[in-house]
Amino acid sequence: MEIRVDHITRVEGHGNILASLENGRLKQAIFEVVEANRFFEGFMRGRDWEEVAHLATRICGICAVSHCYASLTATEAALGIEVSKQTKLLRRLTMNAEQISSHALHVYFLAAPDFLRLQSVIPLIQKSPETVARAFRLKKTGYDMGEVVLGRHTHPVAAVPGGFTLMPKLSEISAVRERLVALRPDLEATVELCKTLEVPAFERETEYVSLRQPDHYAWIGGDIVSSDGSSVTAENYRDAIQEYVVTHSTAKHVKWTRDAYRVGALSRVNNNWKQLRPEAQGAMKALGLKPPMHNPYLNTVAQVIELIHCVEDSISACAQILNEGLQEEDIVIKPRPGRGVGVVEAPRGLLIHDYTYDERGRLTKANCTIPTGMNYANLDREMQALLPTVADQPKDEVQRLLEMLVRAYDPCISCSVH
C-alpha cells in the first residue's frame, strides 16, 4: 500500500505524508516538510532591541502572541528588565486569549471534520448552524480578547519590552469578562460534542515535555520538564534539547532524552493537570480522561480541557483587573550587552527564543526553537508505529487515520521552518 498526501489540508503550512506498507510491513512513514525557510534567525540580526519582537511575532500568524511573549521575555532577560505584576497579569490574560482562539480554530475547523467524516466545516453551515456559530463565538471571543489588550491578535501592537504601550479601558475588560461568562454553555456543549467523537484506538507512550511553574499552570516562564523525570532551566535548554537536520524537512527535528518527544496540549495536561482549574478537571472526569494519556489523537480533547481552563482563568484575571484597576506605566530601558532566553507554552507547545544583544542593544544572535519542529520526530515515529496496526484496513481509512494523526498535532508548519 502506497499513500502520498501532497500539501495536507486543514493545517497551517505545507507538508506531505509519505507512507508505504509492503506485505503488511512498514516500509516508510514520514512527514515531509516542504515549507520555504524565511530565515528569521538570520535577518533579525542587527535590529534594535525594541524592534525585535515586532519582527519575531511575524514568525507565526496563529500563535503570534506566544512568539511576541517568547521574544519579549528573551529581550527582557538579556537587558535585565523586570516587568510589573500588572504586566504579568495582562500577559496571562492574553496568553489565555491565544489558547482560546487557537484551540477553538483547531478543535472545530481543522480537526472536527475528520471525526465527523466531513471534508470541512462548510457542510456544517447548513447541517448544524448552531455548531458553526458556537465555533465562531469561541474563536472570536479569544481573538477579540487579544485585540482589547494588544490592539490586534495577529500581530500584537501594544506589547513591548517592559510592558504595554497603552492600557485597555476597564469598560473593555468588563465587556470581555461578560463575553467569557457567556461562553460557559458553549464550553459545556463542546464537552458534550467530545463525548460523541469516535477517537481512533491507538496508543503509543512517548516523552512528554512542557514548562512547569511551581504554583500555576505554566504559560510563560518556568523550568522545562520531561515526563521522563528530567528538568532544565530555560537558560540551559541547550544542555538538554538538541536540534538536528533531516533530509525530508526544511524544519529541523529536535530530541532530548529519547530520540523524540512530544509537546503541546496533551503534554501539558499529562504533566501539569493537577494545576488545571477545577472546572477543567471536572470536564476531564466527565470525559473519563486519566493522565498520563498515551493516545496521540487525544491532543484535540486535551485542547478542549485547556479551553475550559483558559476561559475560567481569564474570568478570574478580568475580575482581578477590574478590582485593582490599571495604571499606565513609564517604561525606561537602557540597552546593555547580554544573552536572554524566553520560554512560553504556545498553543502547540513549548516555544523558546534565545537572543544575544551587543552594547548598543542590537541583536547579534538569535535561535528560535518551535513546538511543531519539536514534534516532527515524534510524529514520524508515531506514523511508523500506527501503520502496521492498520495494515488490514482499506487505503482510504488508513489515509484518514494518518491525516488525522498529523492534524492531532495541530502543526504550525511555516512557524516550524521560520
Binding site: 500539501h7 489540508t9 486543514r10 493545517v11 497551517e12 505545507h14 515549507e35 520555504a36 525557510n37 524565511r38 530565515f39 534567525e41 538570520g42 535577518f43 535590529r47 534594535d48 524592534e51 515586532h54 519582527l55 511575524r58 514568525i59 507565526c60 500568524g61 496563529i62 503570534a64 482562539s101 480554530l105 475547523f109 471534520p113 471534508q119 470541512s120 466545516v121 462548510i122 453551515i125 458553526v132 456559530a133 465562531f136 474563536k139 472570536k140 481573538y143 494588544l150 490592539g151 490586534r152 491578535h153 495577529t154 500581530h155 501592537v157 501594544a158 513591548v160 504601550t165 497603552l166 538536528y244 537536520v245 533530509t247 525530508h248 524537512s249 526544511t250 529541523k252 511555516s414 512557524c415
Partner: protein, 282 residues
C-alpha cells in the same frame, strides 16, 4: 441559482496570518460565503479544485521552484488578489536579501549545510533559497491588499467590489491621514518617531491607536517624498543607517536608498516638506 464565483486561497512563504485574519472575521465571513463558492483553501478545507475565478494569494516567493505553481494559479484565475505584505511587498523576510544566502543557510542549518555547501548535496531541496520577492515580480496582480496583517474590513470591501465588478481604489494617503481622522496624538508630538507620514494608509492607524508607532507594513505610498522623511527622522536624532533600516523593514523592494537619492537630485525648497503643509511634495 446562477453559478457563484469560485474563490481559491493559496499561500507561499508567510505566516498565514492574513488568511487567519479572514477566518477571524466571524459571521460576516459566513455571509460572504453565501455569495461565493470557496473551492480551495488548504488551511481551512479539504475540498480542492483547479477551477476557480478569483485567486487570493498570500506569501512571498523565495524559491525559484515555487514560481511554476504561482504562474499556474495566474493562468487559471480571472482575478488575482495579493493578500498581505508578503505577497504585495515581499514581507519582513525580504530583509534576508541583505544577507549572503549561504551564510543564512549555514546559520540556520549549521554543519548539516556548511559541510555540504558548494557540493551536490548542498543543492538538496531542503536548502533551496533564492531572492525574496513579492508575487507581482512573477505574475500580474489585479488587486493588492496590503498590511501585515491585512485589515479584515478591507478584505471584505475588496471582495464586495470584485463580486459586483466594481474597480477597487487602493488607499493612497499617508497613515497620518487616518491617524488625524481618529484624533490620535501625533507620535512625533510625543518626541518619538513614526513611519506614518510615508506609509500607505488603509489600516485605520491601528498601531498609533495603541500608542505605538507606524512600522510601515503597508509599504510606501505612491509619490512619496522619502528625502523629506529622512530629514525629519534625522532631526529626531536618527542616523542614516537606522533610518534606512526602518524603511527597509517592509519596503526593501521599493529601494528606499534609490528614492532618497532621486529626491536629493531634484531641486528642493529650503524647508523640507512636512505632512500637512500646503506645498506639494516633490
Amino acid at each position: 441559482m446562477a453559478d457563484k464565483p469560485r474563490v481559491a486561497f493559496f499561500d507561499f512563504a508567510c505566516c498565514e496570518g492574513c488568511q487567519l485574519t479572514v477566518l477571524s472575521i466571524g459571521m460576516p465571513l459566513v455571509t460572504l460565503l453565501q455569495h461565493v463558492d470557496v473551492v480551495t483553501w488548504r488551511e481551512a478545507l479539504s475540498e480542492k479544485s483547479d477551477q476557480f475565478d478569483i485567486a487570493v494569494i498570500e506569501g512571498s516567493i523565495s524559491r525559484d521552484s515555487d514560481v511554476a505553481r504561482l504562474k499556474a494559479i495566474r493562468e487559471k484565475a480571472k482575478v488575482v488578489v495579493a493578500l498581505g505584505a508578503c505577497a504585495t511587498l515581499g514581507g519582513v523576510q525580504g530583509q534576508g536579501n541583505l544577507f549572503n544566502r549561504d551564510e543564512l543557510r549555514a546559520l540556520v542549518y549549521g554543519d548539516a549545510y556548511s559541510s555540504v555547501a558548494g557540493s551536490e548535496l548542498g543543492k538538496q531541496w531542503i536548502f533551496e533559497a533564492s531572492e525574496v520577492r513579492p508575487i507581482s515580480f512573477e505574475i500580474q496582480v489585479d488587486i493588492n491588499i496590503h498590511g501585515c496583517p491585512i485589515n479584515a474590513d478591507e478584505f471584505v470591501a475588496v471582495m464586495e467590489n470584485v463580486l459586483v465588478g466594481r474597480p477597487y481604489r487602493q488607499p493612497n494617503e499617508a497613515v497620518c491621514y487616518e491617524c488625524k481622522l481618529n484624533q490620535y496624538e501625533c507620535v512625533y508630538d510625543r518626541g518619538e518617531i513614526c513611519l506614518g507620514p510615508v506609509t500607505r494608509c488603509g489600516c485605520n492607524a491601528i498601531c498609533t491607536s495603541k500608542g505605538h508607532r507606524c512600522f510601515g507594513c503597508r509599504g510606501l505610498m505612491d509619490e512619496v517624498n522619502l528625502h523629506a522623511a529622512k530629514d525629519v527622522l534625522q532631526e529626531h536624532g536618527l542616523r542614516l543607517d537606522d533610518i534606512l533600516g526602518m524603511f527597509r523593514m517592509y519596503s526593501l523592494r521599493a529601494e528606499p536608498e534609490k528614492k532618497i537619492a532621486e529626491a536629493e537630485e531634484k531641486p528642493r525648497k529650503a524647508e523640507p516638506w512636512r505632512f500637512g503643509s500646503t506645498t506639494s511634495p516633490v
